[in-house]
Point group: C2
């Protein structure tokens, strides 16, 4: 039989992932036809001028080809060689063998140490799952949470469409809750309660709430008070929490800091709320998207449930070992006094400083355009400005026209969800400053002409 569209499951056909949707396909067509396209649609730092950290790549090269430990010894700092040796020993058989389904034990130990040091709390390597990017961790968590067609998962609006797409594919119900744009996209207990009540009225059994902090696409950074409110809500309403914390190193404002759900829960002595938290090597200052590395940490969840997650992971054997090694490099970077540290610190500061500058530059530039309003980009890698459109026009049409007329590729707000009657787009802060200026200039020229 030759399969046709009509043969596919409705859940497959209904799944949408705007970040790589039709506008991006059109952008690629235009580029192939010779147009100057500026891709602002996705957080893919190394497609711009961001360089990988030398430390990470040196460790990976040595792990891939251990003969370099001897033949190329002069080319690598001593601590890099030492790290590679430790990882090769920890994996037992190098990067070419399947690891345990949960991931290499010594790397999970390093992840647990990282969480302990970051938050001043205990962390268990057996509760850490190494994954091919955070996406695979989120999918695994949703897989165990969605237990039937009436199982609901609360997701923010706007949200990163990995969540909506995965819930649709798994046959669950999206339960949207709005973020409060007027208050820098914080969560509001009133809005959460309203969303939950509305879902329950429809017979949906709500199982969990997803929170992205720092926010994607919103760029918001939640404070401990807001996180504490969410934890209280989850406990009282018997929900699990999925905490997407992949942008934890991308906090741009002086005075702001990232606060993890694990830390807030520990400070509150909260032990009854299951927490799945996610981190990734793709964001932060590593930007190693293509390596596909990350982890999921599970808390307040019985061992037999964790064993079920491990079983599901085992069906695909294990996360890729390069991504696992890069995850180790993220959670166990060079320390002051180690030979690699000065270069590592310099490269890290270059990236962090650049991203801070670009976050300000893009938001300020957008706010100078009449008809565009952008909140401060406090965290993550995106601006999500609100745009005023002529009556009857949509942000899909706007973004397509913007692409066709100016070559600037952004994602319409509809791909993330938004309050009815509002329109937005998401643009990444990643292009070099001169390109961000071009983006702002082209938008300024375009916006007023869109009818």
């Amino acid at each position: 039989m030759s399969i046709t569209l009509a043969d596919l499951a409705p859940s497959v056909l209904q799944t949408q992932y705007a970040v790589r949707g039709p506008i991006v396909s059109r952008a690629q067509e235009l580029e192939r036809a010779g147009r100057d396209v500026i891709y602002c649609h996705i957080g893919n730092p190394q497609t711009f001028d961001q360089k990988p950290l030398t430390y990470v790549r040196q460790v990976l090269a040595l792990c891939q080809y251990p003969a370099l430990l001897h033949e190329g010894a002069a080319l690598f700092p001593a601590d890099v060689a030492e790290t590679a040796r430790r990882l090769l020993e920890g994996t037992k058989h190098g990067l070419g063998a399947y690891s345990e389904s949960q991931g290499v034990r010594c790397i999970r130990e390093a992840v647990a140490d990282f969480i302990s040091e970051r938050d001043g709390i205990e962390a268990d390597p057996e509760a850490v799952f190494l994954t091919d990017g955070a996406s695979k961790g989120v999918q695994a968590a949703l897989r165990v949470l969605i237990n039937g067609p009436q199982a609901g998962i609360m997701i923010p609006i706007p949200q990163y469409p990995l969540y909506s797409a995965t819930i649709t594919l798994l046959g669950g119900v999206q339960v949207p809750y709005y973020l409060d744009e007027e208050h820098n996209w914080q969560l509001s207990r009133t809005l959460l309660e309203g969303s939950l009540a509305e879902a329950e009225r429809r017979g949906v059994g709500v199982r969990a709430i997803c929170v992205l902090n720092p926010g994607n696409p919103t760029g918001s950074v939640l404070d401990a008070g807001n996180i504490g409110m969410i934890v209280d809500f989850a406990r009282e309403r018997r929900l699990a929490i999925l905490a997407d914390e992949v942008y934890q190193e991308n906090v741009h404002l002086q005075g702001d800091r990232f606060v993890s759900f694990a830390r807030v829960m520990a400070e509150k002595g909260e032990t009854s709320v299951s927490l799945f938290s996610f981190h990734s090597i793709s964001k932060g200052f590593l930007g190693e998207c293509g390596q596909r590395g990350g982890y999921m940490e599970v808390r307040n969840t019985p061992a037999e449930v964790a064993a079920q997650i491990t079983k599901l992971q085992s069906v695909s054997l294990c996360a890729n070992l390069s991504g696992q090694v890069a995850t180790y490099c993220m959670v166990r970077p060079p320390r002051p006094g180690e030979p690699s540290y000065p270069r590592y610190a310099r490269e890290r500061e270059d990236v962090v400083g650049e991203l801070r500058r670009r976050a300000v530059l893009l938001a300020e530039g957008l706010n100078r355009i009449p008809g565009i309003h952008c909140n401060i980009v406090a965290g993550a890698m995106y601006a999500f400005p609100r745009i005023t459109l002529p009556p009857g026009r949509t942000d899909d049409e706007y973004c397509l026209a913007l692409l066709e007329q100016t070559g600037v590729c952004v994602v319409p707000g509809s791909g993330f969800g938004q309050l009815p009657g509002t329109a937005h787009f998401r643009a990444t802060i990643l292009p070099p400053t001169d390109r961000i200026r071009v983006v702002v200039d082209r938008l300024a020229a375009f916006h007023g002409t869109f009818r």
Copy 2:
């Protein structure tokens, strides 16, 4: 809410994956307690004495850390450097950026060239999907084929439990068909028709047939005639075909050769049967399990269906780039006359020759044990001997007792499925010859004592 087992979906709880199941967990416990465990449960070559091919690892090291192209130029053959340069150019931004969802275009072109050369047929890079190991390709194909709770997928018995596990997770129906152990595990049209008719009687809408060639766990190699019969069956019964061809380089007998489904379909002029075929860097002579690389090629399937597969891939962004690069190295190895070729050819022949010797050694050794009968291991990496058990005893009990008493870890036939009333186990041919002799000796001593 703290999640409990009772909260999980039945499909999650019912999913089984014996290759990493309770016997393997017990083996790890014993090893931690100081026992000498011989792991024969999984095809993970580099956990034994198999070394990665130097060519593959040199290319990966250069792609991970391109500074070596200058600083370490003397350490790498010219063609390796040239290959790394070509890949870095083809990826545009190296291994740290997300690629297209389908995978890097130039690597998909190399896969298409490989298929063309192997089979003397046309192949389209747009029909190639690079995946994190073949497992993820199989899961993607089953995802688009299973379109409701009565959607059936024919799987061989015995089968590799990736198939049964994924069908269960996706909420489809396993439609088992028996392989004919008396005829070296070939497929029989009579058995296929019987299986299909039985499923239809139960109201199952059968969508596809999965075939593993060379077979896992059976070690069989199908000839063109048997494959042609399967293609005819699929056309007449309006089924798609999933052809798991990950062991295509593991054909051990002089005179045998691997024949692909794509080739047989092309020779028959067959254009109405959708074909999904899978290949992997984990098996063959690369044995790069931990790198998680592979591809799926799709034939006789409309572009709009392929676009749906791409959309689903895009939700997880892309396969890991190291695995993509290793896949390139598999499909575009050094050629005679290129500087890397002599070493590459020598290393390849070492692996292939060793595996051939071990396949014979294990099967002959098993057949010398009264009460154990093993077919010739013509292909793949496993023996799947039939064992005679005392009345009322199971192969689960047998394998657990074998592990406890001898430290030999094999997987019970029940994990793959088998004809009722028969019992088997799967053991990999991968251990070094002296360890295979130990396995056979321990089995010989154990078998007669199992009551």
